[in-house]
Amino acid sequence: MNGTIQAPTIEYALLAPMLVVFGAAIVGVLVEAFAPRYLRSAIHLPLTLLSLAGAFALTVWQALKGVPTKPAAMGAVAVDGPALFIWGTILVLAFVSVMLINDEGHFVAAAAAVPGSAEEEQALYSGAAHTEIYPLVLFAVGGMLLFPASNDLLVAFVALEVMSLPLYLLCGLARRRRLLSQEAAVKYFLLGAFSSAFFLYGTALLYGYAGSIDLARINAALGTVGGQDTLLYLGAGMLGVGLLFKIGAAPFQAWKPDVYQGSPTPITALMASGTLVAAFGALLRVFWVGLGGLDWDWSPVLWGVAILTMVVGAVLAITQTDIKRMLAYSSIAHGGFLLVGVVATGTAAQNTSALSGILFYLVAYGVTTVGAFAVVTMVRDAGGEAWHLSRWAGLGKRSPLLAAVFAFFLLAFAGIPLTSGFFGKYAVFQAAVSGGATPLVIVGVVASAVAAFFYVRIIVLMFFSDPAADGPSVVLPSRGTAAVVGFAALATVVLGVYPEPVLHLAHSAAQSLFVR
């Protein structure tokens, strides 16, 4: 009678980019299991890069073929314009991050060994290496792809975990400053687990309210279900906490500086660019699609969060003495600027302009960030990377080109015209002004001015101060790192001088908004 089970329809072609990445990750695990140690790196690198490039090609192909208007995989995954744009962005950022990861000397030889012990030394001499970082990265990237595309909350949760768990591990693998690295991993894991729990609890409460975890159905229930407001508000709030944590919005920003500081720098680059992009994609989808009808309620809260995030990021960055912590606070401040765009909702045209602004900002910021962290990996002294800001004094004299490129990245972060950062900021602020969030924009520009101070401070250090006698040396970059820095610098210039093509792309990606 009712013995037949309807087989779900899965649009494999639409999901192909994710499937390629996840497939390559699984192959990577098999390589770890069966390939001899000396071959592993040689297999992993091409496999990882090729799968990312292939996934990118598939994403482009999908975008050219036409953007679907319905969610795929029985409504679980929405492959729409914004999702495809975000996928493309994440894949490019992941590709360049992997080129950094491939560079030698970032990762510990034996993570389980006690820092400074004989065991560790022995592992170092025997040439041990954690080659499983490549499949881990691929899993994380797969999670990043799924997270912003997930159309129901449970898939979103799974994606969140797939994205985060490998990152927790990767954080703890820094070769230098082992204790900081381990601390970062534990901190990130504990706080991340909390935030995931919040997310899951929020999902459960919303299910209780709407009877569905599908974003569109939750939105549809907003107008019809009465008398369950407590469930709704608690659920939405908890969901918000989980998402804002991943972005690093204040007051959930505390993990960011510690984790960015302790992680191996290439992993920091991946997190600062890819994770941020993915988390913003998911945040937008949950708030605009799932809770779109509730914007009168969440919008004031996000106003407050945005203001707090901008101020906290910009002000606390001033006091930092560690270059990576400084960049972490800068990333918090930029998260705040992006949140300004999230609240700029209104008519469909307004939403499109806000969404395309955010998408452009994410591209601009992500590329520049990877470039900046790539530069950080190159400035070293005896104890590894020269993390203390005072060590950067006079870098402009030692290696003018590298310092000039880094200064350029900093100016882009500060949003000086003729850099990509300016147009990103402009796009978001313009959307916010036309969306009626002018006060938020004023706070934003004041925060930008404060933020400019600490970016400029580093330029002062590099160019106007005299170099220390035993200052750090700039290593001759490997071909991969040089390519990453070159790519990031080029992108920052091109997007700053002629942003139209990417703006246009972002606009057409945002045109259809999120599918429901």
């Binding site: 015209p417 004041v446 400019a452 330029i459 160019f463």
Partner: protein, 501 residues
């Protein structure tokens, strides 16, 4: 021929070229040649400008970022033309004057000269932009080369001064950015072209807010009292050449912006805020002059005189009479030459003795008569001696202001007297009296330095006796601006004397 783009293109290509030249001396010569080519091209453009023709000439408009409604739009009217001329005349002079400046710091000479040429392109762009967004882009971007010029090649306090300069200007610029965005949204035209935006904001309250956004940025840039505190630091720490470009040209962007954008885009708000701006200007005139008298450092003194002079310019802009407006525009040009000469000669003097302090000098006239003589002429131009071009502009501003605002004009006129005190007293302490022991061995100006000073003094003299060519160009543009603001000159209080009386 796309004149304005060519000018900018030549400068930018020149800047790239300088970085490629391996030899420092060759790099300097190359820079000088490029700046002279730009000057020649600009003169070639200027002679084709017809003062009574279209308001904007040499128009070029291309789409730059259609998604934002941004155009690459450049063109000049009379006001922009004379300011561009000022810029391109000062650049080769500064290049020649800075011949040995960059070597003191053991920093890259090529970078310094390359930055000058980048700055030149941006100075042309900022005055020529007919797209508000493009103007903003140049307005902010030009801070960066100047920041590096001050920070890398300046005096002992250079990094403090450079950061202060950058942050003040950046902050003002960001406020302006909000106003620019809001203007775009409210106008709803989907374009940033200046001509399309004029008259789009009708609501007076909105106008007031937007006016403030623009005005604060320009007042910081100009700088108007009480936004001036960054200027003495920046000008005193900058190398002399950079100080000339900073005070002579970059700061003019502020007063130019008031005239072009604040007045034309927000006429009602401009009228509302006129009393306030006039009060600030008059306070600035007197305050700048009094503080200048008390300075012990020559470069700071000159910087404070500029605060006073910028008060005059802002006063002329906001008096909203043809005379005052034209006078203010002329003042911008003359002030560039006059303060330029003053900064450069003071720079030569400081370079010889190695001190900026007035007290370290005395009786220089006897050992270096040419230096002292040119310093005197430059100083006299700063106090607006009749016969020098600055007198014409200051007189026009004062009479133009008097037609509408009598009391402020009278108070402002005291600035003329105070100017005599700060200039002559400085001259007296450094150049007259017994020759100080430390300056006994001072050399007089060499040939290169004479080549630097001669054109400036010549220009001051020529335009002092015959300002007509400049005024012919400026007058129609100012008239046009004021008529679009909707003000007309007040009727003369005394009937004009009839012919033959």
């Amino acid at each position: 021929m796309p004149w304005l783009s060519t000018l900018m293109g030549v400068s930018v290509l020149g800047a790239l070229g300088v970085t490629l030249v391996r030899n420092d001396k060759l790099a300097k010569q190359f820079t000088l040649v490029v700046s002279l080519i730009v000057l020649a091209l600009t003169v070639g453009m200027a002679v084709q400008f017809s003062p009574n023709g279209d308001k904007f000439q040499f128009v070029e408009t291309y789409d730059w970022i259609p998604s934002f409604g941004v155009h690459y739009g450049v063109a000049v009217d009379g006001i922009a033309l004379v300011l561009i001329l000022l810029s391109v005349i000062l650049v080769p002079i500064v290049v020649l004057a800075s011949w040995h400046d960059a070597e003191a710091g053991k920093r890259s000479v090529r970078t310094y000269f390359s930055l000058i040429l980048v700055l030149e392109a941006m100075m042309i762009g900022v005055f020529a932009a007919t797209d508000v967004f493009l103007f903003y882009v140049f307005f902010e971007a030009m801070l960066i080369p100047m920041y590096f010029m001050i920070g890398s090649y300046g005096g002992a306090q250079r990094s403090y001064a450079a950061v202060k300069f950058l942050l003040y200007s950046l902050f003002g610029g960001l406020l302006m950015l909000v106003a620019v965005i809001a203007l775009y949204s409210i106008a709803g035209k989907g374009t940033f072209m200046f001509s399309d935006l004029v008259g789009t904001v009708q609501d007076v309250t909105t106008q007031k807010w937007l006016f403030l956004g623009f005005f604060v940025a320009f007042a910081i840039k100009a700088p108007l009292w009480p936004f001036h505190t960054w200027l003495p630091d920046a000008a005193a720490q900058a190398p002399a050449g950079a100080a000339v470009l900073l005070v002579g040209v970059l700061d003019k962007v502020g007063t130019y912006g008031m005239l072009r954008f604040c007045l034309e885009l927000f006429p009602d708000a401009a009228k509302f805020f006129t009393p306030l701006v006039i009060a600030l200007s008059v306070v600035g005139i007197v305050y700048g002059a009094i503080v200048a008298i008390g300075q012990t450092d020559m470069k700071r003194l000159i910087a404070y005189t500029s605060v006073s002079h910028f008060g005059f310019i802002a006063l002329g802009v906001f008096a909203m009479t043809t005379d005052a407006g034209a006078g203010a525009t002329l003042y911008m040009v003359n002030h560039g030459f006059s303060t330029g000469a003053l900064f450069l000669i003071a720079g030569f003097l400081i370079h010889r003795r190695g001190s900026q302090f007035i007290a370290d000098y005395g009786g220089v006239q006897k050992v270096a008569p040419v230096l002292a003589g040119t310093f005197l002429v430059a100083g006299l131009s700063s106090l607006s001696l009749p016969g020098l071009s600055t007198f014409v502009s200051e007189f026009m501003v004062l009479t133009g202001t008097y037609q509408r605002y009598m009391v402020p004009a009278i108070i402002a006129a005291t600035g003329v007297i105070l100017a005599a005190i700060y200039i002559l007293w400085m001259y007296q302490r450094t150049m007259n009296g017994p020759t100080a022991e430390s300056v006994k061995g001072l050399r007089d100006l060499n040939a290169r330095e004479k080549f630097v000073v001669a054109p400036l003094i010549a220009l001051l003299l020529i335009f002092g006796f015959y300002p007509k060519p400049l005024l012919d160009v400026i007058h129609p543009a100012v008239k046009d601006t004021l008529s679009s603001v909707g003000v007309s000159d007040p009727a003369p209080a005394v009937p004009v004397a009839k012919e033959g009386q």
